[in-house]
């Protein structure tokens, strides 16, 4: 057990704070929702009811989709684009998917390589891009979830304000849907840009996200 905690501390920590943040979001979101219900002549709801509501679902989904979009783009673009001096980047001149020898695929896979890395055909092709595919798929599914839950929440608000509801097609072309999406995207892109640039000039001793403290600013693709 101790070894499990030690070997998986990073993911366990972030799963824990994810749960705590969701609990906090649920409570604060319930208070906001019930306040709106009072002013619009509706009924206040319990926490259990709110957790199953479209309002809570869209508030979660709109954030999740942007996180996975961020990682999908980050994973994919770092194959082809560089940032000189950043530990987040490959070295200039090393862009692209690299050779089989460098990636230890096909005949260059060893006994410790994942099985599909050694396979020929679609298995190797899919596994070679599985991280980006997974992030991209989760992004698409969570964005779809945002559109569906957002449609229900938006139309409930429309009816509370004595206005007609809209269709799904009308909602995904609406200002509400794109405002929710874009406000999340801008912050994700800012975070990645900040990380790529600040890591050139600043250090965090001991973190693999940082270059070693004494490394020069020009050193690229080196982690601490």
């Amino acid at each position: 057990m101790r070894r499990f905690l030690r070997d998986n501390g990073l993911s366990l920590f972030f799963l824990l704070v994810l749960v705590l943040a969701l609990v906090g979001q649920a409570i604060s979101g319930l208070l906001v929702f019930n306040d709106h219900q009072l002013t619009s002549g509706g009924a206040q709801v319990s926490l259990g009811h709110y957790l199953l509501s479209s309002q809570f679902a869209v508030d979660v989904a709109e954030n999740w989709q942007s996180e996975f979009l961020q990682f999908f783009l980050y994973i994919f673009m770092t194959v082809w684009l560089v940032q000189r001096g950043s530990p987040e980047s490959k070295k200039p001149g090393e862009t692209g998917e690299e050779s089989d020898k460098e990636q230890k695929t096909g005949p260059y896979a060893d006994e410790h390589s994942p099985r599909w890395a050694a396979e020929d055909g679609w298995r190797r092709a899919v596994f070679s891009r599985s991280l980006g595919l997974a992030m991209g798929t989760i992004f698409v599914l969570s964005w779809l979830a945002q559109s569906i839950a957002g449609l229900v929440a938006y139309n409930a608000d429309q009816l509370a304000d004595y206005q007609d509801p809209v269709t799904w097609a009308g909602y995904v072309t609406s200002a509400d849907f794109w405002n929710r999406s874009l406000q999340n995207w801008q912050s994700e892109f800012l975070a990645v840009a900040a990380m790529a640039v600040l890591s050139i000039y600043l250090r965090q001793r001991g973190s693999p996200e940082s270059k070693p403290v004494g490394t020069s600013r020009d050193a690229t693709g080196i982690e601490g």
Binding site: G41, G42, V45, S54, Q55, A57, A156, Q158, D164, P165
Partner: protein, 133 residues
Amino acid sequence: MHKWKRQVAALVPVAVVFGATACGSNAEGPDVRRVTTGFFAATTAHQGTAACRALAPQAADGLASGGSTCAKEIDKLDLTGGRIRSVRVWGDRAQAVLSGDTVFLARFRHGWRITAAGCRPQGQYPYQCEVEA
């Protein structure tokens, strides 16, 4: 069970939840119709007290003002409704469009109640209603 079948099976409850939210709870439609029909049956028969029972608390309170009661005020409005053309339910809110009126409803612990009645469309603006919460 093959791994991929377990993964697909895990998505089924997710699809059900999203399907239910996307469809806007069509299961609530009959209850909305019943409340709407009962409301206009009461207003047409000038049974103000029964009509007010179908209203949301804030809507009923809004009518009862200046020493008058909800029942008296709602009788003055002469709401007739007509035939229900459509019912749309989204979350805890609903709209019933009738041949002679449009009403908006909200779901409370004890069932659906009307939050606005005697509503007329105003283009891109909110409906203008004679009874509002």
